[in-house]
Amino acid sequence: MRLLRNLAAAGAVMLATAGVGAAQTLKFAYDADPVSLDPHEQLSGGTLQLSHMVFDPLVRWNQDLGFDARIAKSWERVNETTMRFNLREGVQFHSGNEMTAEDVVWTIERLKSSPDFKGIFNGWVSAEAIDAHTVEVKTDGPSPLMLHTATYVFPMDKKFYEEGGAEIAKHGDSFASQNVSGTGPFTIAEREQGVRVVFERNETYWDEDSPGDVQTAILTPIKEAPTRVAALLAGDVDFIAPVPPTDLDRVRENENTKLVTMTGTRVITLQMNQERHEALANTKVRRAMAYAINNEGIVEKIMKGFGTVAAQQSPEGYVGHNPNLEPRYDLEKAKQLMAEAGYPDGFEATMMCPNNRYVNDFKICEASAAMLAKIGIEIDLTTMPKAQYWPKFDERAADIMMIGWHSDTEDSANFNEFLTMTPNPETGRGQYNSGNYSNERVDELTLASLTETDQDKRAEMLQEVERILYEEAAFIPFHWQDLAYGARKGVMIEDVVNVMNFPYLGDLVIKQ
C-alpha cells in the first residue's frame, strides 16, 4: 500500500515537472473572429491578426516600430526604384510545398488584384523572381515606404491555391476563404465561424529560434466586453483583447491576472465642414473650437486615462510627429477668437457621431457639444450605430462629424492622404475629409513625401504639415486610443504585443 502511494506521488511530481517548458495550450478571446481565412479578402485588424498566426510576412514591425526580418532574411536597394529581397531557404508551407520566390511574386500579384489591398500596393509596378530565393520589386518612383508595404506581403502557397482556387471573393464562397496554407507558426485545426478557431503548432515551422511554446491555441470570439472580462477573471481563458476602459482596474488588481496597455496609433478627431457651414470655413472659428475643447479632460474623465492626449494626427514614433505641438485648452482665448471672427454670440451647427465604432465615441461627442456650448456654439447632436453612420459620413450629412483613423502603413502621410488632403474623387485623395479642408501646401508636401527617400527631409515635410494643420485647426484632435490586453499571470503577453495590435502569438511563452 505504501509503495503504491509513493509511486503515485512520484508520478504526480513527474507530471508536474513535465509541464514546465513543454507544450502549452492558450485559450484566448477577442471581440471578433476573422471574417475569412483568405488574407487578401478584407483589410482589417482581424485579418492581420490571423495572418501573423498562419502566415509570415517578408518583414514585420517590432515593438520599437522598426523592422524585423522574417521570410525575407535581408534586403537591399538596387537603385532608387528597385528593392531586392533575399528570401530564407528551406521554408515549407503547411501543405508540405517548398516556399520559393515564385510564391512571393504570385502573392504580390494577388494583393494587387484585391480591392482592399491594391491601394497599398499601387506604387509597386512589378515583382520578379531573379532566382529561387530572390525577389526584385520595382516601384513607380522612389519609395520611402518600401518596407512598410512589405509587412503586408505574407507569402501564400501558389501551388495549393492554384489547384484549389485562388479567386478573391468579397461575397459568396471561395476556396481561399475556407482553406489555408501558409508558412506561419500555426495551422488551423478546426474552425466554426463566430464560435471558435483552433490553432495547432506547425511542426515544420522554419523559425527554430522562436521561443514560443504554445502547442494549441483556441480563439473564442466574445463580443460583449463584460463577458470577455468575466471569462478572464474566472480563468476560462488565458488572454483577452481588448479590455474595456471600465474594467482596467479590475483586471490590473485581480491577483491572478495582469493588464498590459500601450499607446495605440488610432487618432480620434472631429472634422468641421467648411462647405456646409459658413462659420466653420473661418479659421478663427475653428481655432476657437479647438481651444474650447478640453481633450485632456476627456481622456481623464471619459476615457479613464485610456488614451494619449493628441494635438496632431501622427503619434509619437511616426516620422511626421511634431514634438512642438501641444494640446491647447483655453476657454478665454476661445471666446476672444469667436468675438474676433464676428461670432460673439456663437451659432448653431449639427454634429453626427457613431455610437459603437470607437471607444466611448458618443460620450466624447456629448462632452464636446457641452464644451462648445460654453462659447455659444449650439450643437444638435445625432449618434447612431456605425452601420448607419458610414453612409451618413459619405453623404457629409452633418456640419461636424467624427472620424478615427489608423494609418495602414504606420506612416504619417497616410493620415493626410485620406483625412486632410483636398478631396478629389479621381485620385481618391481626401476620401475621408468630410470637412472639405483644403490647403495647397499640405497637398504639395504630402505628395512630395510619398517619393522622398531621405528620412530627415521627409520628417521635416510631414512635421510641417502637422504644424499647418494645427495652426489652421483643420480638425479637432482628441487622443490616440490606447490598446489594452488582459492575461493570466505567467502568460508573457507583454513580449509579443505591439502598437499595431497584432500580437505575435507564435512567439508567446507561457510560464506555469
Binding site: H171, I222, A230, K386, A387
Partner: protein, 328 residues
C-alpha cells in the same frame, strides 16, 4: 379529415405571415446601413464599393430585388449570408439546436418552479413563504434580463467560480446532425446560468398566473361539490382544480414563446451562447441583410408552428375546445 382541414388552413396562414414579414424585412433593409462598409477595408474607394454594390445587385430597384428574392425563396433559397458566405437558412439551422436547448432548459426551470410555487401560494394564502414568493416575483418581474445575466456571470462565474461564464461547452453530435449539449456534464454546466437567466423573465409571471387561476378554480362550484362528495384533498386540488388552471397557462405560454425568443437575443449575447439570437444581433451589427431577413422569416415560421401546437394541446386538455376550421 378535420385535422387535415385545420392544418391546410394553418399552412396558408403561415405562407401569408411569411410573405408579409419578407415585405417588411425588405422595405426596412435600406435603413439597416450599408453592407459594403462591413465587407471592405477603410481605404477602398467609393468607386470600388459602388462596383461591388452593382455586382451584388444592391443598386436594383426595390421591386426587382424583391421579385428576385421571392423567385429564389420559392426554391428554398433565402439568400447567402455576406459574413458566413453560406446559405442563410443553413447558417440559422446550424444555430437552431443551441437556441432550442436553451429554451428547453429555461422552460424546464420555470415550469418546475412556477407550478409548485403557484399551487403552494394558492393553497397557503397567508403563510410567510407565500408573502416572500409574491414579493420576490414582483421584484423579479421588474429586473431587466441583461442585469440578471451580468449579475449571474459575476456571482457564479467570477466571484464563486462555480459555473462557466460563457459559451456552450462540449457538445455531442447526434446521428441526424444535431449538436447537443445535454449529454455532457460540461455542456449541462454551461446551460445552467443562461437558462436561469432566460427563465427569470417567465418565472414571476407564471407563479402569479398559476396562483390566480388556482384560486379561482378552488372557489368554483364543482370543486366545492367534489369536496362535499368526500374526495380526498389531494385529488380535489391536483386533478379537479389544477387541471383547469392549465388552459390559461397554455394560452399565455404559447403567446409568451415570442417573448422568450426575443429574450434569447439578449441572453445569448451576454453569455456568448452560439445560438440564433446571438447570430441575429451580430447580423444586425454587420448589416448582413440576407441573414437578417432569413432570421425573421424563420422566427415567423416558428411562431405559426408553436401556435398550431398550442391549439392541439388545447383539445387534449379540454375536450370541449374544437379546432378552429374543423367543423362538426
Amino acid at each position: 379529415m378535420h385535422i387535415l382541414a385545420f392544418l391546410i388552413r394553418r399552412a396558408v396562414q403561415a405562407v401569408i405571415v411569411m410573405l408579409v414579414i419578407s415585405v417588411i424585412g425588405f422595405s426596412i433593409q435600406d435603413n439597416l446601413g450599408d453592407p459594403l462598409r462591413e465587407l471592405v477595408g477603410q481605404s477602398v474607394s467609393e468607386e470600388e464599393r459602388d462596383a461591388l454594390r452593382e455586382e451584388m445587385g444592391l443598386n436594383d430597384p426595390f421591386l426587382v430585388q424583391y421579385v428576385r428574392f421571392l423567385g429564389n425563396a420559392v426554391q428554398g433559397d433565402l439568400g447567402t449570408s455576406y459574413f458566413f458566405k453560406r446559405p442563410a437558412v443553413d447558417v440559422i439551422m446550424d444555430k437552431f439546436p443551441a437556441t432550442f436547448e436553451l429554451v428547453i432548459g429555461a422552460v424546464f426551470i420555470f415550469l418546475s418552479l412556477s407550478i409548485p410555487a403557484g399551487i403552494y401560494c394558492a393553497i397557503n394564502r397567508d403563510s410567510w413563504l407565500t408573502r416572500i414568493i409574491m414579493t420576490g416575483s414582483i421584484v423579479g418581474i421588474s429586473i431587466p434580463v441583461f442585469l440578471t445575466a451580468i449579475a449571474a456571470v459575476w456571482l457564479f462565474g467570477v466571484e464563486l467560480g462555480w459555473l462557466p461564464a460563457f459559451g456552450r461547452g462540449d457538445t455531442v453530435e447526434l446521428p441526424w446532425g444535431w449538436e447537443t449539449g445535454f449529454l455532457t456534464l460540461d455542456g449541462l454546466s454551461h446551460l445552467i446560468l443562461p437558462s436561469i437567466t432566460l427563465s427569470s423573465i417567465m418565472l414571476p409571471l407564471f407563479i402569479r398566473l398559476i396562483r390566480a387561476e388556482m384560486l379561482e378554480a378552488m372557489s368554483t362550484d364543482y370543486v366545492r361539490f367534489a369536496r362535499a362528495k368526500g374526495l380526498s384533498q389531494r385529488r380535489v386540488r391536483y386533478v379537479h382544480a389544477f387541471r383547469n388552471t392549465l388552459l390559461p397557462v397554455v394560452t399565455v405560454g404559447g403567446l409568451m414563446i415570442g417573448t422568450l425568443i426575443a429574450y434569447t437575443i439578449l441572453t445569448e449575447t451576454v453569455f456568448q451562447w452560439p445560438g440564433m439570437g446571438f447570430l441575429f444581433l451580430e447580423a444586425v451589427n454587420r448589416v448582413d441583410t440576407p441573414l437578417i431577413i432569413a432570421y425573421i422569416i424563420v422566427v415567423g415560421l416558428i411562431f405559426v408552428i408553436v401556435n398550431t401546437i398550442v391549439d392541439f394541446v388545447y383539445t387534449l386538455i379540454n375536450p370541449m375546445v374544437k379546432l378552429p376550421g374543423a367543423k362538426g
